[in-house]
């Protein structure tokens, strides 16, 4: 890939006998990260697992990927996959700018970014919109739970209007629809899924990794701990059973990750969350044409009226040049491998510089 670079990480692949290896000679372990420190049952963990599976199955060498994130529980998760990939856990809401700069360092790497709904649609709204305008080649996953997990459950901008949370009261504002924002900003790959739909998530991540441009994945990923809907039929704890609050913010019961089994394209599936509230997923038809922008826009409007969450690859525009293309970067070599004689003009050119002056 670059004169003094290895072509893959074989050196680290286990010699073990019956460990399954992929085409680049790596086992799934080579794609794992540190043990998660997120809550048991957090949707984010399911997504991390699908990222590992997708990278393994796509036969990407981990050294050929970079991981980026902002700040939040979601943004912590890059530590829990792809240990052999460089990563940057940057600032709250500012990952897009860091990702943009990093892309220029080695544009031959695939970058995969993790963010949360607060990180992306509250503090990060501006940078989120502009990275889509620039069509920065990267996979941008929003682990969308409608709350700020890491700061203990305040509403984010994607919380449904009218949602009532135990310690937060009622959310008065309309929810930001990440998919609609992506469309408005001309994102070239727009998809939505649910953390519990393992296969769809994995499939979309693979597709996104193969897209040359910005790929937005809005993945609904329930916060088992704080997305605790007062009005739901059986929110945990004494809260409802005993008409008074448990009153210990620090108690977090261990839940299972929600998994929805396979369900066919074109159908809807109602999913019950940990707190008993439900969401309705609607998978796009098999024959749906994701390159038809008008159709996509109409579907999104409809889904709002029907109050269903459209899932699947909603829109893709494969042809638009990515930021890397716009900047005419070298075909085969990353900028960060360039050395002095490629970067510093020859001695003689100092005359030219002075001649430019008077």
């Amino acid at each position: 890939m670059s004169e003094n670079g290895h072509t893959n990480g074989k050196t680290a692949a286990p010699a073990a006998g019956n460990v399954q290896l992929n085409v680049v000679g790596l086992s799934k372990n080579d794609y794992r990260g540190a043990p998660t420190t997120l809550c048991a049952g957090c949707g984010h963990n399911s997504i991390s697992n699908q990222i590992i599976a997708a990278a393994f199955e796509l036969n990407v060498v981990p050294e050929d990927m970079i991981k980026l994130s902002g700040i939040g529980c979601s943004s912590k998760s890059p530590a829990y996959f792809l240990n052999r990939s460089f990563g940057f856990n940057s600032l709250h809401g500012r990952m897009p700018s860091v990702a943009t700069g990093a892309m220029f360092g080695d544009h031959l790497l695939k970058s995969l970014a993790l963010s949360g709904d607060g990180d992306t649609t509250n503090i990060g709204m501006g940078q989120f919109k502009h990275i889509m305008r620039r069509n920065v080649p990267m996979v941008y996953i929003i682990e969308n739970n409608g709350v700020y997990g890491l700061t203990k459950g305040q509403f984010s901008a994607t919380a449904e209007s009218g949602l009532h949370l135990k310690y937060q009261g009622t959310n008065p504002y309309p929810a930001v629809d990440i998919v609609q924002e992506a469309m408005a900003s001309g994102a070239t790959f727009v998809a939505r899924s649910f953390a519990g739909d393992a296969n769809q998530v994995k499939g979309l991540i693979k597709a996104a990794l193969s897209h040359n441009g910005v790929a937005i994945l809005d993945i609904i990923s329930p916060c088992v701990t704080f997305n605790n809907n007062e009005d739901s039929r059986h929110s945990y704890g004494w809260g409802r059973e005993h008409q008074e609050p448990l009153h210990d913010f620090t108690y977090v019961p261990r839940e299972q990750e929600i998994q929805v089994g396979e369900f066919p394209e074109g159908t809807t599936r109602t999913v019950e969350l940990h707190d008993g509230s439900t969401i309705v997923l609607k998978k796009l038809e098999r024959d749906y044409d994701p390159t038809d922008r008008g159709a996509a826009m109409r579907l999104i409007e409809e889904s709002h009226n029907e109050a269903v969450l459209l899932t699947g690859l909603i829109y893709v525009e494969p042809e638009r040049p990515s930021l890397a293309d716009l900047y005419g970067l070298p075909k085969g070599r990353p900028l960060n491998r360039m050395v002095e004689n490629e970067l510093r003009p020859a001695k003689g050119l100092i005359e030219k510089a002075n001649a430019m002056m008077f």
Binding site: M1, N4, G5, H6, N8, G9, A12, D30, V61, P62, E63, L68, P78, A79, N83, R84, S85, F86, G87, F88, N89, S90, L91, R94, P96, S97, V98, A99, T100, G101, A102, M103, F104, G105, D106, L109, Q127, H130, Y327, L329, P330, G332, R333, L335, N336, R337, M338, E340, L343, R344, P345, K347, L349, I350, K352, A353, N354, M356, M357, F358
Partner: protein, 612 residues
């Protein structure tokens, strides 16, 4: 400032004729397009071998507000702003009265005859000229008449001051890059005006110029273009920026010129990228991403942008990401005076970011040094793996300066402590991102794209140990922060040393930096004339070398002259040398104008008396 006014006036008039020693101000309206005329005059004088400086005093708008351009001609080679002007050219009705009043007694006042005002002063020479008519008679297209009208005063002044018309032509040829047509049209007006002046004006004032040889070995340059070219020779690979006065022209000339120096025949793709970001948070964020990924990355802005970069500056400091940030300072706080110059961001930039932070500041003092620091800043940033702030200002960045030619970097690029695949193999992969193996506080880094399976690490602004793993251990935090402090101490030896010039028997010292330099040089002569010898240390960076301490210790008193309200550099010196605090005296000025030598002289004399 009346005393020096009269003084200057008398100095000059006593000799009857005053040659190569006066200031001349052209008063126009913003947007009227006087820039070509003004730099043409400036350059013609420069080509005549006469030391000159040009300062543009413009409003924060695009069209219609008053703007003044002052050219100082100084056989002594003084380039600082003068408070007084011997010659004024009035082209703006709105300021005609004050412009007339601003001429020193015995001076000369020129104005376009389309401005109808009653003129009462009889202590100066008054000349009017038919600017509009000359423009109308020219071959310039109708829609450009207002513009070429400005060429009229070039011709008139050339004739009245003995400016060499060949040099005027040379200046135009340079300006229009040899394009005959515009040269012809402009030159036409100038010559017509020259002829008209010969025929119609009788010179009654003493001011004129004569050729000298004092500009040989100098060029004329603005600091922003110099900085951009310096960055290009520093091998800049990535620049992200957001427009802001007075920094915009730095990034713009980078974008406009880098191709000419860096694009090679048949090379596959560019070796650089310059991105206009959506704001300053994004600009520095992109630079941080690029710096982390191993590029020579920079951004350029002014005060408001620096404020917005605060959080990222802290991240880059703590995660140890090399980036270069140019702060072309303007007057703050807040939006302040966007078109006035200042040195007001020193303290806030040095401490930029919550928590314990200390940033390296470079302090260019000339256009030539803007070029030098343009490349050197990258060496320091990559060597120290930290943000390096280059503190320029509007005066240095946007005005034309007579300066030494740019020198090709005398040292090869220093990419700092970076490990690639082979290096790691040699180390048997026994390496930790934040382990201080050389005990200089600077650790070894790898960058994305390194294919060694042991090369990756996870960058973060949260607590981490030597292995770059997340850590909340008190000890890990303390050790890491102490190492960063050590690193800052190490930086002392890598930043540019101060520039010291001494005078015999001097007991007092002057410390200054940046665009204050010419005023200090001039003021020292005035002080010497009055019998006060001074040594002078020009700071070129924070942290301070030990030689700064020695300088202060070596003097009864040291005056720290700077262009802000609170004596910001004086404060940093106090903090660094508490024992010497009583010897350090702050001389701050914050009127938004380039520093004036006579003010400096008087301020120091006042202090000297007050302490006697």
């Amino acid at each position: 400032m009346t005393t020096p006014q009269l003084k200057e006036a008398t100095i000059t008039r006593s000799k009857g004729e005053v040659v190569n020693d006066f200031a001349m101000t052209v008063a126009t309206m913003n947007g009227s397009g006087s820039q070509t005329s003004n730099v043409t005059l400036l350059r013609a004088l420069f080509k005549m071998g006469i030391p000159v400086s040009g300062k543009n005093l413009f409003p924060s708008n695009i069209q219609g507000l008053p703007t003044w351009y002052t050219i100082r001609v100084s056989k002594q080679g003084y380039l600082a702003r003068r408070n007084t002007q011997e010659i004024v050219v009035a082209m703006n009705a709105d300021t005609f009265v004050q412009d007339l009043a601003s001429v020193v007694p015995g001076g000369a006042f020129y104005y376009g005859d389309h401005l109808k005002f009653e003129i009462k002063r009889d202590d100066i020479s008054i000349y009017s000229f038919p600017a509009k008519q000359l423009a109308k008679d020219s071959s310039a297209p109708a829609n450009l008449r207002d513009y070429v009208a400005n060429m009229a005063y070039v011709g008139v002044l050339a004739q009245m001051l003995d400016i060499d018309m060949n040099k005027v032509r040379e200046a135009l040829e340079f300006h229009f890059d040899g394009k005959e047509k515009p040269i012809a049209i402009n030159m036409g007006v100038i010559e017509a005006a020259f002829a008209w002046s010969t025929a119609n004006l009788k010179k009654t004032d003493p001011y004129r110029v004569e050729p000298m040889d004092k500009t040989a070995g100098y060029i004329m340059a603005d600091g922003n273009t110099a900085a951009a070219l310096g960055a290009i020779f520093g091998g800049v690979q990535f620049a992200a920026w957001y427009p802001i006065t007075p920094a915009s022209s730095l990034a713009e000339s980078l974008a406009q010129n880098i191709g000419a120096f860096r694009d090679k025949e048949g090379q596959d793709g560019k070796t650089y990228a310059i991105v206009q970001a959506e704001d300053e948070l994004a600009a520095i964020g992109m630079a941080v991403g690029a710096g982390w990924a191993g590029l020579r990355a920079m951004t350029s802005t002014s005060g408001p942008g620096i404020s917005l970069m605060t959080e990222f500056a802290g991240l880059a400091y703590y995660a140890e990401v090399p980036i270069v940030i140019w702060d072309v300072q303007r007057v703050g706080p807040s939006t302040g005076l966007p078109t006035r110059t200042s040195q007001g961001d020193i303290l806030s930039t040095h401490f930029l970011g919550h928590g314990d932070t200390q940033h390296i500041l470079l302090l260019p003092g000339s256009a030539q040094e803007c070029f030098e620091f343009g490349w050197k800043a990258f060496d320091i940033a990559e060597r120290m793996q930290t943000p390096v702030f280059v503190m320029s200002d509007l005066d240095l960045g946007m005005n034309q300066w007579m300066t030494k030619p740019f020198q090709y970097p005398e040292t090869p690029m220093d990419r700092g402590k970076i490990l690639w695949e082979k290096d790691l193999e040699e180390l048997k992969n026994n390496w930790q991102r934040y382990k201080d193996v050389d005990s200089d506080g600077v650790t070894w880094r790898t960058v994305p794209g390194n294919k060694n399976p042991h090369s990756a690490w996870f960058a973060r602004g949260t607590g981490h140990n030597e292995a770059a793993k997340y850590s909340e251990q008190a000890g890990d935090w303390e050790n890491n922060m102490q190492r960063l402090k050590k690193k800052f101490a190490t930086a002392k030896e890598y930043v540019p040393a101060p520039d010291v010039s001494t005078a015999k028997g001097a007991e007092i010292g002057i410390i200054a930096y940046g665009s204050a330099d010419p005023a200090i040089l001039e003021a020292r002569d005035y002080l010497a004339e009055d019998g006060l010898q001074t040594d002078y240390l020009r700071l070129r960076a924070v942290p301070f070398r030990d030689s700064v301490r020695d300088f202060v210790t070596g003097h009864r008193k040291t005056y720290v002259v700077e262009m802000n309200r609170d004596g910001q550099m004086h404060k940093l010196l106090q903090l660094e040398f508490p024992q010497l605090a009583n010897q350090l005296i702050s001389i701050p000025k914050h009127d938004g104008l380039p520093l004036n030598a006579r003010w400096v002289k008087q301020a120091i004399q006042a202090e000297e008396q007050s302490h006697e």
